[in-house]
């Protein structure tokens, strides 16, 4: 299947990326030989079981972690530190709680467009981005005054306001309820259609991955996790979750991701001590 994923003129290229973490028991190899090319305007999902190193891949692209082998190249430049051209939407919004929604976005805008934008332009740009995520009505509220979904919207607005070359989303909707999540997924699709961002998103949710992505990158289980398979989603945009629910192509994609996760990369969780203890007790009683 990899052969069908030839990418011409990639904006971001991961070549032979591997990472080792030192532990008291010796080095732990979390990732090995991750190769991925992403073209401009593409929406990529990383999916895999927990602990497989999805977040590690994202953090390497973000520059928050340094790969010990290989590396990431963004538009011909190697990534070795964090920066606004690779904006991150964090799982738990990560807004500064002492600043209002507006001020949170302002902090980003002021830092990045310090010289290139006038005060009025910055103001307009902040408001534009908050309106884009439908947060215009609550832009002067503090994070603890708005709901989880709204916080995540502000987080997305902050990331978009940085005009990133690649938008990195680390399980952006993981902490939200299903209905809010659906709303935000629609918002992201809308925004991506309008701005044509290149997005890498980590997700646990098979439906989310199939609905949003152009390609789904499926990761094998760690240690030494790597890309197991890449699935191209050939569904026309704009996509509607209701229509797709009955679409055979959509269901086929879902089936493929599910079979990768639960057949090929089936993760057997070891029994915890507590359950083992309980079982031995039960045996004794019997």
């Amino acid at each position: 299947m990899n052969s069908t994923n030839k990418v011409i003129n990639p904006i971001l290229e991961l070549t032979g990326v591997g990472i080792e973490f030192p532990t008291p028991k010796g080095p732990y190899k979390a990732l090995t030989d991750v190769n991925l090319k992403i073209s401009k305007g593409e929406m990529i999902s990383l999916i895999g079981h927990s602990g497989c190193g999805k977040s590690t891949v994202l953090n390497i692209v973000a520059g928050l972690l340094q790969a010990t082998e290989g590396g990431a190249v963004l538009e011909g430049k190697e990534v070795n530190e964090p920066g606004p051209e690779r904006a991150v939407v964090f799982q738990n919004h990560s807004l500064l709680p002492w600043l209002s929604a507006f001020e949170n976005v302002e902090l980003a805008v002021k830092t990045i467009f310090d010289k290139s934008k006038s005060k009025v332009e910055m103001q307009e740009w902040i408001e534009h981005n908050l309106n884009l995520v439908h947060m215009g009505h609550a832009m002067h509220k503090r994070p603890n005054e708005i709901s989880g979904g709204m916080k995540q919207r502000v987080g997305i607005a902050r990331a978009l306001a940085m005009e990133p070359k690649v938008l990195l989303m680390d399980e952006p909707f993981g902490a939200l309820d299903a209905l809010t999540r659906a709303h935000l997924q629609d918002s992201v699709m809308e925004i991506q259609k309008e701005l044509g961002n290149t997005i890498i998103m980590i997700t646990h949710d098979v439906d989310e991955a199939v609905l949003l992505s152009d390609r789904i990158v499926m990761m094998t289980n760690g240690p030494s996790a790597t890309i197991g398979d890449i699935l191209k989603i050939d569904l026309e945009r704009p996509r509607s979750r209701i229509e797709l629910a009955d679409d055979p192509k959509y269901n086929h994609c879902r089936q493929q991701v599910l079979s990768f996760l639960y057949e090929k990369q089936r993760k057997v969780e070891p029994l915890t001590k507590a359950t083992r203890y309980k079982k031995s007790k039960e045996k004794q009683i019997a």
Binding site: A62, G63, L64, E81, P82, G83, P84, R86, A87, V88, F90, N92, S94, L96, P97, W98, L99, L107, A108, T111, I112, R142, N144, M162
Partner: protein, 370 residues
């Protein structure tokens, strides 16, 4: 609720008792029964309604809460006064009975009137001096005017203000050093590792150990013919500073180091400049811990100052206590008791002021602060 009344109780008496009950907001007054002559008499509504603002509902909860918030502390204070009063009567010292609340109050009043008298004397002194100078000037226009300061004994109030100014100076200086230093060691693990042994070593040192050294150093180093501050003041301030700096340093460092990793990541992705990072991310996040440190520091500063003043005979409340102890009159213990209470009360006020400042500076207005 039932009320027992004797057979021969006057109706009015019973009625007054009922009124008292009704005024008690905690009492649910849907059922008031009065036992008279073994018979239960149910009071008619009309009788109850004579009490004025009587309704059948309980008082609103907020009124109940307010009354609780006022009544319970007052009850605690009254209990304390009772124990103090009775306890004091049973302690005999060489200077007479241990002072009870009434003696303390008497001494407080006498200290106040002494203060007022001293002020009147001072005014009179300056008046006399001015008169004399103008007289001399009238006789001889070339006369160089001499102005001498009033040298009366500092009163209790004077000593209190001296102590307050000293403690605030020491505390503010300590904070000005401690907060930036705490932020610095909190931001950098290596600096923290280097500074930690020093902090741990000096933190538990009592002011009394520092005092001789500080006194000697100040008298050696701080020499000028016309000093801006008295040497004793400088000694006290430095002692306070050295002893009260540590809680702020430690708490600021811990607060700074505990900024959540997510926010640090945000700062990295935004490539915030170091100063922006400190002022926009680190300090707001560390503010609660900084104030915890400041409040501890101020408490320690106040305690240390009194001890230092006692030992070094530096002007202030500590000296007042020591002087009274040496004086050994029958009033001395009462006066010391007044000083003890005033010291406690000022310490309490200082803490409240810090709490107010914390409320002002804290971004999270919903946080419960005690």
């Amino acid at each position: 609720m039932t009320l027992l009344a004797y057979e021969n109780s006057h109706t009015l008496e019973v009625f007054l008792i009922i009124r008292c009950l009704i005024m008690n907001p905690f009492y649910e007054r849907t059922k008031i029964e009065v036992f008279m002559k073994d018979k239960t008499v149910r009071l008619p509504r009309s009788l109850l309604s004579l009490g004025g603002n009587i309704t059948d509902e309980k008082m609103p909860i907020w009124i109940q809460e307010t009354i609780k918030a006022i009544m319970l502390p007052i009850a605690g204070l009254l209990l304390f006064l009772l124990i103090w009063g009775t306890g004091a009567q049973n302690i005999n010292t060489s200077l007479g009975k241990f002072p009870g609340p009434t003696q303390a109050l008497e001494q407080f009043n006498s200290l106040m009137s002494e203060h007022n008298n001293e002020r009147i004397k001072e005014e009179a002194f300056y008046q006399r001096q001015d008169d004399r100078n103008s007289e001399r000037l009238a006789l001889d226009p070339n006369y160089q005017i001499k102005v001498r300061r009033y040298t009366g004994k500092p009163t209790f109030i004077d000593q209190t203000f001296t102590s307050l100014i000293t403690v605030l100076t020491g505390f503010i200086l300590a904070s000005v050093i401690a907060i930036p230093f705490g932020i610095m060691i909190g931001l950098n693990k290596n600096i923290y590792a280097a500074a930690n042994p020093i902090i741990q070593l000096f933190k538990p040192v009592s002011p009394l150990a520092w005092l001789p050294l500080v006194t000697m150093v100040v008298s050696a180093v701080y020499t000028s013919d016309d000093p801006l501050f008295a040497k004793s003041f400088v000694t006290s301030v430095i002692t306070v500073l050295v002893c009260s700096i540590w809680p702020t340093v430690i708490n600021t460092a811990v607060g700074t180091a505990a900024v959540s990793q997510d926010l640090l990541n945000v700062s990295k992705v935004l490539r915030l400049k170091p100063m922006t990072h400190v002022f926009k991310v680190v300090i707001p996040s560390a503010i609660p811990m900084v104030f915890t440190g400041l409040r501890l520091s101020l408490g320690i500063a106040w305690m240390v100052l009194i001890a230092a003043e006692m030992l070094a005979q530096n002007p202030g409340l500590g000296k007042f206590v020591w002087d009274e102890f040496q004086n050994g009159s029958s009033n001395s213990l009462g006066r010391i008791m007044v000083a003890v209470l005033v010291i406690g009360f000022i310490g309490f006020l200082l803490d409240r002021v810090m709490l107010m400042l914390q409320r002002m500076f804290s971004w999270d207005k919903q946080a419960i602060l005690r």
